[in-house]
């Protein structure tokens, strides 16, 4: 397989890992106002405290990897999505420090809890907007972005933003179903049952809208061989959704989380089918944006050796903190 394609898969893997790993801890932030102050909030926070910054590192890999493997794409996309990206970064600043600050300053804890919520919400929404704006099309001239300041804002990008908020919130709720006990666990199950229909509605709306955004998406989905995927996709999606719904009522505690991840992975697969082989839809292909061969090889050696090691010790860290996170009331 050619190296550029390999790198496209590695970047896609990093983005997928980011969504899998950081989605739930951003989701807990989004749900934070619905969790009562005190033990439940502390417990919710403690389910992610040891792992959150490892999770966020995948975002840095996504950004750094894009710069390294597809520098032209990085150089066009980041100025184009300037505002949502800066807003996302500032959101991440607030929520990241809140993990430590809320314990250091009980007098102002409610403000840091709010920072955790608002930062998570803004970061998530803006990630969704970024995705939507990228799909919606970026105005390129020569080797740079040539659009305006507000190009990123559209009905479509707001829809993807809202959809991602619902999705991460559901991941957060399902994570709490898995890791929490008692009242918090029961509450998370109730939240999840509200969030599933919201997420399904959002994904449905975005899926129906997408073919009309750029002609290439319609061609991809409604012409052979894309049709081969178009038909089974809703069936697969429906099956996973039903399984998720069932698992929220009587499944094991880890099942809803994995099934929600299943919904995310299906959505990302759909996304990949829509844009392949472009990195900026309709404008720049992965081959046009690719770094030269020597850069790709140099990094590939590192990625092939290091990513498995990273996965191993990250897995170990999760294993160390496995099981339910209780609080003193429950033991």
């Amino acid at each position: 397989m050619d190296l550029t394609v390999t790198w496209a898969f590695i970047i896609a893997f990093a983005v997928a890992m980011y969504v899998v790993m950081d989605g739930f801890d951003l989701g807990i932030g989004i749900l934070f106002p619905l969790v009562p102050v005190g033990r439940e909030r502390d417990q919710a926070m403690n389910t992610v405290a040891p792992v959150w910054d490892g999770n966020e590192t995948w975002l840095v890999l996504g950004g750094g990897g894009l710069l390294a493997a597809f520098p032209l794409a990085y150089a066009i996309i980041l100025p184009a999505l300037y505002t949502p990206l800066i807003a996302m970064l500032l959101g991440l600043v607030f929520r990241g420090v809140a993990f430590e600050y809320r314990w250091r300053d009980p007098g102002h804890r409610k403000y840091w809890d709010f920072a955790f919520f608002a930062g998570s919400l803004v970061a998530t929404f803006m990630q969704g907007v970024t995705l939507g704006a990228l799909l919606h099309g970026i105005h390129v001239e020569g080797r740079s972005y040539a659009g305006g300041w507000w190009d990123w804002l559209s009905l479509y990008s707001v829809m993807t933003g809202a959809g991602l908020v619902a999705g991460y919130a559901l991941l957060g709720a399902c994570w709490l179903i898995w890791k929490a006990e008692g009242d918090l666990h029961a509450r998370a199950r109730r939240h999840a049952r509200i969030l599933v229909p919201l997420l399904v509605a959002a994904i449905g709306a975005v899926s129906l809208y997408t073919p009309f955004v750029l002609p290439q998406y319609a061609e991809r989905w409604f012409q052979y061989p894309g049709l081969l995927v178009t038909v089974p996709m809703p069936i697969l999606f429906g099956t996973v959704t039903l399984a998720l719904w069932w698992s929220l009522r009587r499944g094991r505690d880890w099942m809803p989380f994995l099934l929600t991840l299943g919904l995310f992975l299906l959505s990302m697969a759909g996304l990949a089918i829509s844009i392949w082989p472009d990195v900026i839809p309709g404008r720049v292909t992965i081959w046009q944006a690719a770094a030269p061969y020597s850069s790709q090889v140099f990094m590939l050696v590192g990625a092939l050796v290091l990513v498995p090691i990273i996965l191993a010790y990250t897995g170990w860290a999760y294993w160390v903190f496995r099981g339910k996170v209780g609080d003193h009331g429950y033991h």
């Binding site: 910054d53 150089a75 980041l78 420090v97 290091l306």
Partner: protein
């Protein structure tokens, strides 16, 4: 879209602002991570509880510093693209892989083991926990390696070629890119600076508690360890800094001319200008206090060696003199004071008054922030001294900027300033609060901290309430 002068200036201010804020945190976390590894190692070896108490005390501070470093660092990894997209496009094939390696070899290592280091002592046992601490410490050093390789390549680019798209691409071996001429010097100088900065901060906290009459074994140990570092490492740093300067003279002479305030050439041997007001328009240093020929002695190790001045550099290629003339002097002055502090501590040790000499404690206390100031001044010197180039001699800063407009970059700059000052001022306050308490015997590992009772053996020590 043509980029206005204002937008360019604002983009530069934004980068300078976000990188300067960010740099403060790694400067402390590189040093603290190693300090924590040393403390834990000493505890495992000797069993002295003072080491464990100190470890737990500084671990809480490390956690706050690290969180601030992570969030301000994520901003940096996107700044290259938002404001400097032409740079990203053209230098991406070289800078990108270096940064990707930083993420893969360092960031994941630090973040992956941080959770265990902070919260996992009861779960994994002492040996494995020490391993986690070591991994975090090693991660911080690897991180410095890659990011300074990238920065050094921008200062002294080697091993590159230009492709059809106008991109800088590797010409041959990556080793030529990584081990570019200024890298070994910059890496050594910066890592030592991080250690020294940490030592001065630790020493300052120790001095504060000594002045308050809290001469517990923990306080004495940290003060003594910090003073050893100042005494041994500050002179080494002065030597390394001098070597770094000679390397800069060889590869970036205009930077040295600006640092020294040498507007005109001195064929007969250059003076060392101690102070003065540099004036780039008039091309002179007003009211200069100078020592004849000392400049040549320092830079060429010869009193009569000729030294070229900025008059040999076209105006368009000169760095701004005023800023780096002063930032350099502040850094050097603070370095000298650090060495003096170390010397005083040695005298105190000989006189056996290390824990009683109040003047020394006052000195160490006020020197607490000096490492941070010196680090920022050193960074300003090297980065502003690289101007007007972003890749020295090859790509001008003004040609590297994104197609940005003034309103957008103004808005984001204001947002960064407000958010950083709020968030990091709060963080600094919390760190000072933590430092304000003396490390106690039986120091809890995370008082008022998150509850870590996940898992199999919920022992009472792990189920902590809010009041510790």
């Amino acid at each position: 879209m043509a980029v206005s002068e204002t937008a360019l200036l604002l983009a530069r201010i934004q980068f300078a602002f976000t990188i300067s804020f960010h740099f403060i945190f790694p400067a402390l976390s590189i040093g603290l991570a190693s300090y924590l590894a040393v403390l834990e190692g000493l505890w495992l070896k000797s069993g002295r509880s003072a080491y464990l108490n100190l470890f737990r005390y500084w671990l809480k501070i490390f956690a706050v510093v690290f969180a601030m470093g992570v969030v301000s660092g994520i901003v940096m990894s996107y700044q290259f693209g938002t404001n400097w997209s032409v740079f990203s496009d053209r230098a991406g094939p070289i800078i990108g892989p270096l940064m990707a390696y930083e993420v893969l070899t360092a960031f994941f290592l630090e973040a992956g083991f941080l959770g265990v280091m902070l919260f996992g002592m009861e779960k994994v046992g002492r040996r494995l926990h020490f391993t986690a601490t070591l991994m975090v410490a090693i991660g911080t050093a690897i991180s410095a390696f890659w990011i300074l390789a990238a920065n050094s390549w921008m200062q002294t680019p080697t091993g590159w070629a230009i492709n059809d798209q106008g991109q800088f691409v590797p010409a041959g071996s990556w080793l030529d890119i990584i081990f570019n001429p200024s890298f070994p010097y910059r890496f050594t100088h910066t890592v030592i600076a991080a250690y020294l900065t940490t030592a001065l901060a630790v020493g300052s906290v120790g001095a504060w508690h000594l002045l308050r009459g809290r001469a517990t074994p923990e306080v004495r140990t940290m003060f003594s360890m910090a003073m050893w570092m100042a005494a041994l490492v500050a002179p080494v740093q002065i030597f390394v800094g001098d070597q770094h300067g000679l390397n800069t003279l060889e590869h970036q002479p205009a930077k040295i001319m600006a640092m020294e305030g040498h507007f005109r050439s001195h064929p007969e041997g250059a003076p060392l200008i101690l102070f003065g007001i540099p004036d780039s328009e008039a091309e002179t240093v007003h009211g200069a206090v100078e020592i004849p020929r000392l400049g040549s002695l320092i830079l060429k190790h010869d009193l009569d060696a000729p030294l070229a001045g900025l008059d040999t550099v076209p105006r368009a290629d000169r760095p701004p003199v005023g800023i780096i003339f002063w930032s350099f002097r502040i850094m050097v002055g603070l370095g000298a004071l650090m060495a003096l502090l170390g010397l005083c501590s040695l005298i105190a040790r000989v006189r056996k008054t290390l824990y009683d000499w109040r003047w020394l404690h006052h000195f160490a206390l006020v020197m607490g922030p000096s490492g941070f100031v010196a680090v920022i001044c050193g960074w300003v010197t090297t980065e502003v001294g690289r101007q007007p180039w972003v890749i020295y001699g090859l790509l001008r800063t003004r040609d590297a900027v994104s197609p940005i407009a003034t309103p957008g970059v103004t808005g984001s700059l204001i947002a960064f300033v407000i958010v950083y000052f709020t968030v990091f001022a709060a963080g600094a306050l919390y760190i000072l609060k933590l430092m304000g308490h003396a490390p106690a015997a039986g120091e809890p590992d995370t008082p008022k901290g998150p509850i870590r009772s996940a898992g199999i053996t919920p022992a009472p020590s792990m189920t902590r309430g809010e009041d510790g």
